[in-house]
C-alpha cells in the first residue's frame, strides 16, 4: 500500500462510514468527517515526495493510479480545500438536516476528485469523473424543492460533458485499443488527423462543462448559488478545477501533434475571453451574493482557460497559478458570504448591509478575497494577472488582452458591490443582533487569507510546484525568483519592493492619521451623516444598494440581451413537448397495437430487399 491507495481508500470508506455513523452516533459524525479529510491531506503531503504507481485489473482494463507533478498540484488543492471546507461545515451545517447525506456526498466529491487527478488511465478517470458528478449533483439538490430543477440542469449538462468524454474515450479505445494514459500519449499521434481533432474537441467539451466555459456555463450560476456554502466553496474552488486539469492534459499531453490544433487553441482562448467578459458583466447585475460569486467564478475560469489555450510558458504558469489562487480566494469569498448567510439567513445584497463592525474577521476575509480577485497589488491576484497579461501581449494576442483587461476592470464593479452591500454601508437595526461566526468557521477563512497574502509577496513559492508540473506537461521552463517575476522580454516586477513600498507608505500615513488627534476621535453611527439637514430616523433605510450599477447597465445593455440560457431552455422545452407528442405512439388502444404489428410485418415483407438484401 502506498499513499495514493490510502487517500482513495480512506476518503471513500470514510464517506460510507460517516453516513452510517450519522445514523448511529450523531456527535461522532463530524469528528470522523474531519479526520477523514485531515488524513487525506496528510497522505497527499506524504505522496508529494514519492512517485508511485498502482496497477491492478478491473474487468478487462488495467487500472493505473499514480501521481505526477501535475496531479500533485491539483491534489494539494483538493486536499487543502477539502479539509478546510469540512472544517467550515462543522458549525455551518450544525443545525441542518440530512447531515449524513451531506458529509457522505462531500467526501465522495473529494474522493472523486482525488481519483481524477491520480488516474493514469481513462477508465478510472471516467469512473471517478462520474462519481464526482453524481455526488456533487446530490449536494446541489441538497437544500430544498427549489434546487431540484437547478440540480437537474446541472446533471444534464454534466452528463453531456461526461458523455462527450466517454465518446472520446471510446474513440480512443477504438483507435488505439488501449486506455492507459502512457500508452495513449505515445500512440495519439498515430491516429488520423481528423480523429485527433474530434477526440480533442470532445475531450475539451467534456472538461469544459465542468469549468463552465461559455456556452456550456448555464448550469453554473444557479447551481453554485443554491448549493450549501461549504460545498460551494469546494465546488468553485476545486471541483471546477477538474475541468481545468483535464483541459491542461488535453492541450499539452494529448493533442500537441496535429497542425490544425492551433486553431482549436485559438478558438478556446477566445471562448475563454468571452466567458470572462460576459460572466463579469452578468456578475455586476446580480443581487444575490452567491450568484454574483458564481458568475465571478465563471469569469475567473475563463482567464485560466485563456492561459492554458495560449500555451506559452508564462501563460501556463499564470493559468496554474490562478488555479491555485482561485481555489483559495473563491473559497474565501464563498465562506465569507456563507458566514453572512449563517448569521443573517440570506445572501440578498439588497437587504443585508453594514456588517463590518459585527463580523470584522469575515470582512477581512472578504476584503482579502476581493483584492485578490481584482488583481490589485500586493496580494496574489496581481502576480497572476501580471503573468497573464505579459504572456498574452508577448504571444501576440493583442485583442484578447484587451478583452481580458476589460473583464478584470469591470470585475472591480461587482467586487465593490459585494463587499459594500454586505459589510459596508448603513448599519441597519434589522441586523443589530448579528455577531461574528464561530472559531471553526473563521480558521479556514483566515488560513486562506494568509495564503493569498504570501502568494502575493512570494509568488515564487507557489510557482515552484507549478514549474514542476509544467515540466511534466511538456518541458516548459520560465524564469522567476521567489518574489521576482520576469516576462518574456526580460522586464521584471519585484514583489518584495512593491510590498515594501506599499507597506512603508501605508504604515506612515496610517500612523499619521491614527495618532493625529487620537483621543478626541469617536465613532458615530452611519445615521449620523451629511444629509442636507434632514435627520434620518433610526429605522429609515438610507442604504443605496438596489440597482447599484444602473448607469453601467444602461451603457452596456445591448451586450446583455442575448441569453444562451434562454436558448437552452427553449430547446429543452421543445424537446420535452416533442417527446410528449411521441408518447402518443402508445395510444393505449389494443387495435392500434395490433395494427402496428401487421404494418410492421407488411413493411418487412415489402422492403425485404432493402433491409436484408434479398427479394422476397
Amino acid at each position: 500500500m502506498n499513499s495514493i491507495a490510502y487517500i482513495l481508500l480512506i476518503t471513500f470508506a470514510g464517506a460510507g462510514i460517516t453516513f452510517i455513523v450519522h445514523h448511529l452516533i450523531k456527535p461522532l459524525r463530524d469528528i470522523i468527517a474531519i479526520t477523514v479529510a485531515a488524513s487525506g491531506l496528510y497522505f497527499v503531503i506524504q505522496s508529494l515526495t514519492e512517485k508511485t504507481k498502482i496497477v491492478f485489473g478491473i474487468a478487462d482494463f488495467n487500472i493505473i493510479w499514480g501521481n505526477t507533478p501535475y496531479s500533485n498540484l491539483f491534489a494539494v488543492l483538493i486536499a487543502v480545500l477539502g479539509f478546510l471546507t469540512i472544517l467550515y461545515a462543522r458549525d455551518f451545517m450544525a443545525e441542518k438536516e440530512r447531515l449524513g447525506y451531506f458529509y457522505m456526498n462531500l467526501l465522495f466529491v473529494i474522493g472523486g476528485m482525488y481519483g481524477i487527478v491520480y488516474s493514469q488511465d481513462l477508465i478510472s478517470l471516467f469512473f471517478f469523473w462520474e462519481v464526482m458528478t453524481w455526488s456533487s449533483f446530490l449536494l446541489v439538490i441538497y437544500c430544498c424543492k427549489e434546487a431540484q430543477p437547478i440540480g437537474l440542469k446541472y446533471f444534464v449538462f454534466s452528463a453531456i460533458g461526461a458523455y462527450s468524454l466517454l465518446i472520446a474515450i471510446v474513440m480512443i479505445y477504438a483507435q488505439t485499443g488501449n486506455l492507459e494514459l502512457s500508452n495513449i500519449l505515445q500512440n495519439f499521434g498515430n491516429i488520423s488527423e481528423v480523429n485527433q481533432i474530434v477526440i480533442a474537441v470532445l475531450l475539451l467539451t467534456g472538461f469544459g462543462v465542468k469549468s463552465a466555459i461559455m456556452p456550456l456555463h448555464v448550469w453554473a450560476p444557479d447551481s453554485y448559488s443554491i448549493s450549501p456554502s461549504p460545498f460551494t466553496a469546494l465546488f468553485s474552488g476545486a471541483l471546477s478545477k477538474m475541468g481545468i486539469f483535464g483541459i491542461g492534459m488535453v492541450l499539452f499531453k494529448f493533442a500537441s501533434h496535429s497542425g490544425y490544433f492551433s486553431y482549436v487553441k485559438i478558438i478556446l482562448a477566445w471562448l475563454g475571453g468571452i466567458t470572462a467578459l460576459l460572466a463579469t458583466f452578468y456578475a455586476i447585475f446580480q443581487t444575490d451574493a452567491k450568484k454574483l460569486l458564481a458568475y465571478s467564478s465563471i469569469g475567473q475560469l475563463g482567464y485560466i482557460i485563456i492561459g492554458l489555450a495560449v500555451g506559452t510558458p508564462l501563460s501556463i504558469a499564470a493559468a496554474l497559478f490562478l488555479v491555485i489562487l482561485h481555489g483559495a480566494f473563491k473559497a474565501m469569498l464563498f465562506m465569507s458570504v456563507g458566514a453572512v448567510y449563517f448569521r443573517t439567513g440570506t445572501t440578498d445584497m439588497n437587504s443585508v448591509t453594514g456588517l463590518i463592525r459585527k463580523m470584522p474577521l469575515s470582512f477581512v476575509t472578504m476584503l482579502f478575497g476581493i483584492i485578490t480577485v481584482s488583481g490589485v497589488p500586493p496580494l496574489g491576484g496581481f502576480a497572476a494577472k501580471w503573468m497573464l497579461y505579459e504572456s498574452l501581449i508577448q504571444s501576440k494576442h493583442y485583442f484578447l488582452v484587451i478583452v481580458v483587461f476589460a473583464a478584470s476592470t469591470a470585475a472591480f464593479l461587482y467586487l465593490y458591490k459585494l463587499i459594500f452591500s454586505l459589510f459596508l454601508g448603513q448599519e441597519e437595526v434589522e441586523w443589530s443582533h448579528v455577531k461574528e461566526v464561530p472559531l471553526l468557521m473563521l480558521i479556514p477563512m483566515l488560513i486562506l487569507s494568509a495564503f493569498v497574502l504570501v502568494a502575493g509577496i512570494f509568488p515564487g513559492l507557489v510557482l515552484d510546484p507549478i514549474s514542476h508540473a509544467m515540466q511534466y506537461l511538456g518541458n516548459y521552463g520560465f524564469k522567476y525568483e521567489t518574489s521576482v517575476l520576469f516576462n518574456e522580454w526580460g522586464n521584471k516586477i519585484n514583489m518584495q519592493t512593491v510590498i515594501n513600498v506599499i507597506g512603508a507608505v501605508f504604515l506612515i500615513a496610517g500612523l499619521f492619521v491614527t495618532f493625529k488627534g487620537l483621543k478626541k476621535t469617536r465613532y458615530v453611527t452611519t445615521k449620523d451623516i451629511h444629509t442636507s439637514g434632514e435627520i434620518p430616523e433610526e429605522n429609515e433605510n438610507l442604504t443605496y444598494a438596489v440597482d447599484f450599477y444602473k448607469p453601467f447597465e444602461r451603457a452596456i445593455a445591448p451586450a446583455l440581451k442575448a441569453s444562451i440560457d434562454k436558448i437552452y431552455t427553449a430547446i429543452g422545452n421543445n424537446l420535452e413537448q416533442a417527446f410528449d407528442f411521441l408518447r402518443y405512439v402508445y395510444t393505449g388502444n389494443g387495435q392500434t397495437y395490433a395494427m402496428y404489428v401487421v404494418l410492421f410485418l407488411s413493411l418487412l415483407i415489402l422492403f425485404a430487399e432493402l433491409i436484408f438484401g434479398i427479394k422476397l
Partner: protein, 484 residues
C-alpha cells in the same frame, strides 16, 4: 442433478401449489421459495459444468435430431442462474407483497413463468421452444390481470391480443421450417436450413422477427408492454423485465445466430434496437405513472441490449449479456421499491410520491439507488455494462449508435432523477405510518448489494460472460454438441 430440474420442478410445484392451498396458505407461500432456492442451488452447482462443456440432456430416450433435447451450455447456465436467482428474490419480495387472494394462483402462475422461461433458455428443440413460450405467455397474461381490476383486465387483453400474433407467427415459422427441413431440433435446423430457398428462409426470418420481437419488446411491436408492466402487480413487473424478456431476447438471438447469421439481419436488429431505445426513452420522459415510466425504461434498456446483440461481435454480445444481467437486477430493484412506494402513497401517479423519502427512507433509498444504477453511473454495475456496450460498438467502427445511446442515457437520467427529487425534496412532512415489510427490504437489500459488488468488481460476472458469449456466437460448437 441435471438441467431437467429447472423445468420439471417448478412445473411440478405449479401443480402442487393449488393442492397445498387446501392445506395451508403459508405452505403456498413457502413452496415456491423452496423450489427457487433449490433451483438456485442447482444452477450454481451446474454452472461451472455447463460453462466448461455443454451438457446435452436427452428427454424420452430418442437421440437427437429426433428426440427432444435440453442444451445446457454456457449461456443457458448463465441465464438459468439469473432466472432462478432473480426468481428467488422476487419470491422473497412477493412473500409479503402479494396479500391479495387468490395467492395460490399467483404462485402457481409464477412457477409456470419460471418453468416457461427456463424452458425457453434450455430447450434444444424449436417446437419445444414454442411450447415454453406459450406457457410463459399464458402465465404472463393471467398475471397481468391478477389484480382483477378494469385496467388490469384491459392490459391483459391487449397483451393477449398482441401475444397471439406472436404465437401465430412463431408457429407459422416453425411449420414452414418443418415443412422444409423435416426436423425440429435447433442444431439440426441450423445445419439443414442452408439448403432451404432464400425467399423461404427470409419469410421465416421475418416471422421469427415479429413473433419473438413482440416478446422482446422491439418497436413497434411493444405496445402491450407499458400496460402490462404497469397494471400487473409490482413483482410481476420485475418478472417481466427481469426474466421473461430476457428469455425472449435470448431465443431471438439464438435463432438468428443459428439460422440467419448475416450482416443484414444484424444491422436490421441494430437499427431496430436504436429506434426502440430512443422512442421508449422519449416516451418515458413525460409519463405520469411511475410503473409506466419503469416499463418504458425497460423497453429502452432492451433496445440497448438489442443494439449490442446487433453489433454481433464477441465483445458486444458479451456486453449485451452483461447488460441483461444488470438490467434484470436493477429493474427488479426499481419495480420492488416502486411497488411499495405506490402501495404507501396509494396512487400510481408520480406526483403522489412527493416527500415519501422522509416517510419511507429505506424504500426510497432503494429506488434512488436503482435510479442512479440504471442511468449507468459508477460505481454501480450498470456503468460497466454500458461502458462495454459502447466500447464494443466503437470497436466495430460505429460511432452513431454510441452517440444515440448516450443521448438516451441523458433522457433516462432526467426522468429518473425527477422522480428521485420528488421523493426527497418536494414535501417534508410524514403522513403514512405503514412499514415496508422486512422480506421486501431484504429482497431489495440483496439486489443492492449485488449491484454494488458487481460495480466494484465486474470480473465477478464478466468472467462468466465470455464463455456465454462464445457459446451464443459459436454455431459450429452448438451443432457439434447439439447433435452429438
Amino acid at each position: 442433478m441435471s438441467p431437467v430440474h429447472f423445468i420439471a420442478i417448478p412445473l411440478f410445484a405449479a401443480f402442487l401449489i393449488p393442492l397445498a392451498g387446501k392445506v395451508s396458505k403459508e405452505l403456498v407461500k413457502i413452496i415456491p421459495g423452496l423450489v427457487l432456492l433449490y433451483l438456485s442451488f442447482v444452477s450454481v452447482t451446474l454452472f461451472p459444468i455447463g460453462t466448461h462443456h455443454p451438457v446435452v440432456e436427452i428427454i424420452a430416450g430418442f437421440k437427437p435430431p429426433f428426440g427432444i433435447t435440453l442444451y445446457y451450455g454456457a449461456i443457458a447456465a448463465f441465464l438459468t442462474t439469473l432466472i432462478t436467482l432473480i426468481g428467488f428474490v422476487i419470491w422473497l419480495y412477493s412473500y409479503k407483497f402479494i396479500i391479495r387472494e387468490p395467492i395460490e394462483k399467483y404462485y402457481m402462475l409464477f412457477m409456470m413463468l419460471i418453468t416457461g422461461s427456463t424452458g425457453i433458455v434450455l430447450t434444444g428443440d424449436i417446437f419445444n421452444l414454442f411450447v415454453f413460450f406459450e406457457i410463459t405467455s399464458i402465465a404472463a397474461y393471467s398475471l397481468t390481470a391478477f389484480l382483477r381490476d378494469r385496467d388490469g383486465a384491459e392490459a391483459a387483453f391487449k397483451y393477449l391480443l398482441i401475444g397471439s400474433f406472436a404465437s401465430t407467427f412463431f408457429l407459422l415459422a416453425i411449420a414452414i421450417i418443418y415443412a422444409n427441413v423435416h426436423t425440429l431440433n435447433l442444431a439440426d435446423i441450423a445445419v439443414k436450413i442452408q439448403d432451404v430457398p432464400v425467399t423461404t428462409r427470409l419469410f421465416v426470418l421475418i416471422l421469427f422477427l415479429i413473433g419473438l420481437g413482440i416478446e422482446s419488446e422491439m418497436f413497434p411491436l411493444n405496445g402491450w408492454a407499458p400496460d402490462a408492466y404497469s397494471q400487473a402487480p409490482s413483482p410481476v413487473g420485475a418478472v417481466f423485465g427481469g426474466i421473461v424478456v430476457k428469455a425472449a431476447v435470448y431465443s431471438l438471438m439464438r435463432i438468428i445466430f443459428l439460422m440467419f447469421n448475416s450482416h443484414d439481419v444484424l444491422h436490421f436488429l441494430l437499427v431496430m434496437g436504436i429506434i426502440t431505445m430512443l422512442i421508449a426513452e422519449m416516451s418515458a420522459m413525460k409519463q405520469q405513472q411511475i410503473k409506466r415510466m419503469l416499463a418504458f425504461s425497460s423497453i429502452g434498456q432492451m433496445g440497448l441490449v438489442i443494439i449490442a446483440f446487433g453489433i454481433g461481435t464477441e465483445p458486444s454480445v458479451r456486453a449485451a449479456m452483461f447488460q441483461m444481467f444488470n438490467h434484470a437486477l436493477i429493474k427488479s430493484l426499481l419495480f420492488f421499491s416502486a411497488g411499495y412506494l405506490v402501495f404507501h402513497s396509494g396512487s400510481k401517479k408520480i406526483s403522489a410520491l412527493d416527500g415519501l423519502g422522509h416517510d419511507k427512507p429505506i424504500t426510497s433509498f432503494f429506488f434512488a439507488f436503482g435510479a442512479l444504477a440504471i442511468i449507468g453511473l459508477p460505481p454501480f454495475s450498470g456503468f460497466w455494462s454500458k461502458l462495454y456496450i459502447l466500447l464494443s460498438i466503437a470497436d466495430a467502427g460505429l460511432m452513431v449508435p454510441v452517440v444515440l445511446i448516450l443521448i438516451s442515457s441523458i433522457i433516462e437520467a432526467v426522468y429518473y432523477l425527477r422522480v428521485v427529487s420528488r421523493l426527497y425534496f418536494y414535501k417534508e412532512e410524514a403522513t403514512d405510518v405503514r412499514r415496508t415489510p422486512v422480506s421486501g427490504l431484504i429482497a431489495m437489500g440483496i439486489l443492492t448489494v449485488v449491484i454494488l459488488l458487481v460495480g466494484f468488481y465486474p470480473n465477478l460476472i464478466l468472467n462468466w460472460m465470455t464463455p456465454a458469449a462464445a457459446d451464443l456466437l459459436n454455431k459450429a460448437s452448438y451443432i457439434k454438441f447439439g447433435l452429438f
